[in-house]
């Protein structure tokens, strides 16, 4: 029983972690916390739902088309809304992403209405395999683990060995120096937003397949993923995934013991971590000399 709880916790936790990676990428390059991440992913998931169910496009084609759309949406939002406001204060930047959030939520509500839709992935949440005893794992969870592992590996190589990857880290650490060695910072931001939007969308598809699709369906996962990100330190990708796993398991176990408390476990975790380790559990900051 406990093994099952933990396994399920790990699965949802991986999903939180995957979604949290999306924050990390934008935060790492531009120090913006993207409050519209959830709605960007929601909107793209609706896009996929739309072409899947209305035009009956084959799954893989619509999947790729959706990722393309997600990248486009990310680039566009950054270019249209964030770039002109690059010199705003933190409040201004948060305000802009909050603005984008409610715009997207409104658009989705306008276009697709508020009723809940069913979003189907080829990997089902209900088809399960028994591992041992009464512990089983769903196709959904397997696919999720594989995807998360792939994304993490890809990102590891990207940030470690590719030129744009190193440049992305460089831009975040020292934008002035990056410009001086000739980095086109604008292009780096576009890339970051595109990547983040794509990864967020993949995570959102898993969430949608596990629950239902409506304009608000990403709100709760958003807060959880944010908690995971904070837990991991909004800086390191493995840290964030680990944060997601811890959160997912904690939530499932606590939720089993006190069913009422499940929704606020994440919140309590956020507050506690922030109070005692303001920069997260797994981040070792290089401290700048004042």
């Amino acid at each position: 029983m406990i093994a099952q709880l933990i396994l399920e916790g790990i699965a949802t936790g991986a999903c939180y972690g995957l979604f949290a990676i999306a924050f990390v990428i934008i935060y790492k390059t531009s120090d913006v916390v993207n409050f519209s991440q959830a709605e960007m992913a929601m909107f793209c998931t609706y896009f996929m739902y739309h072409i899947l169910s209305l035009y009956h496009v084959p799954f893989w084609i619509s999947f790729l088309a959706t990722l393309g759309f997600a990248a486009f949406l990310g680039i566009m939002l950054e270019y249209v809304f964030l770039r002109p406001a690059r010199h705003s204060s933190t409040i201004g930047l948060i305000g802009i992403t909050l603005g984008i959030e409610i715009i997207l939520m409104g658009l989705a509500g306008w276009k697709w209405g508020a009723e809940q839709k069913e979003f189907v992935l080829p990997v089902s949440y209900s088809s399960t395999h028994t591992i041992f005893g009464d512990t089983f794992i769903s196709d959904w969870a397997i696919a999720l683990f594989v995807t998360t592992a792939c994304v993490m590996t890809a990102l590891y190589f990207f940030f470690k060995y590719t030129k744009p990857g190193i440049a992305m880290r460089a831009v975040q650490q020292n934008m002035y120096a990056a410009r001086i060695v000739g980095v086109n910072t604008g292009a780096i931001f576009s890339l970051a937003w595109a990547m983040s939007s794509v990864i967020g969308t993949i995570a959102a598809m898993f969430f949608a397949a596990a629950s239902t699709l409506d304009p608000q369906f990403m709100m709760t996962p958003f807060v959880r993923a944010f908690a995971a990100a904070v837990l991991g330190g909004i800086q390191s990708i493995p840290g964030v995934i680990l944060g997601g796993l811890i959160l997912g398991v904690a939530e499932n176990v606590f939720g089993y013991v006190w069913p009422d408390s499940k929704p606020i476990v994440a919140l309590i975790v956020i507050v506690l971590v922030l109070c005692f380790r303001p920069s997260g559990l797994f981040v070792r900051h290089y401290i700048k000399k004042v």
Binding site: I166, Y176, I180, G182, V183
Partner: protein, 250 residues
Amino acid sequence: MKALLKLSGIETWHGSICALKHVSLEVFQGQIAVLLGPNGAGKTTVLKTVMRSLYDQKRAQPEKGSIEFEGKRIDRLKTGEIVRRGIGCVPEGREIFPELTVRENILMGAYTRRGGKDIRADIETVYRYFPILRERKDRQAGYLSGGEQQLLAIARALMGRPKLLMLDEPSLGLSPMMTREIFEIIRSINLQEGMTVLVIEQNANIALQYAHYVFLLENGRVVHAGKPEVMKRDKRVREAYLGSSDNSSP
């Protein structure tokens, strides 16, 4: 002699404050030029105006005047393009990437270049100039000492294969010995590669020793220019920058 970099009548504003007032200067091919001046005189602004890295790219251009590099105007180009044309820059306070490794920092210097082979060869060359960096190559740059960071910043700038290398206060925060070492390296790069160098300095003594030509900047204006031998004899320069080191004179 040909002017590699030529600033004519530059005026730059920081908000409502005029930081540079009609600055004109020429840096000649193959020379070490030094821009000397006290804190707040606008030395760094000169560098930033050339690189167009004040605020953001749109506004980082001189309000008046022109900047020419190899006879072509560059004051409307983007920073990336300026780097590609051949201006390398070692900014004030090093400005390295603290959480990248030393090697990655050096690689970033070649950001505007293509061709992995050339770049790898150049990294080797740079390691030959600065053997300490080879030793530290996998360490996070933020943990290097001040002098090592300064070397790293120079190495990074060299990776762009610049025709003109600009250094902003390379002596900042370094011991006299380290400062001397850095200037020796600058001189040897200048001699071996024929690279033109523009150094911004507060430390008059060392600057005058290594410079071929000196510009004196005060309150956003070039108030004096000439060969170092001439400058050293100038009474005003002595008083202001060398301290009244000879106590005999009244």
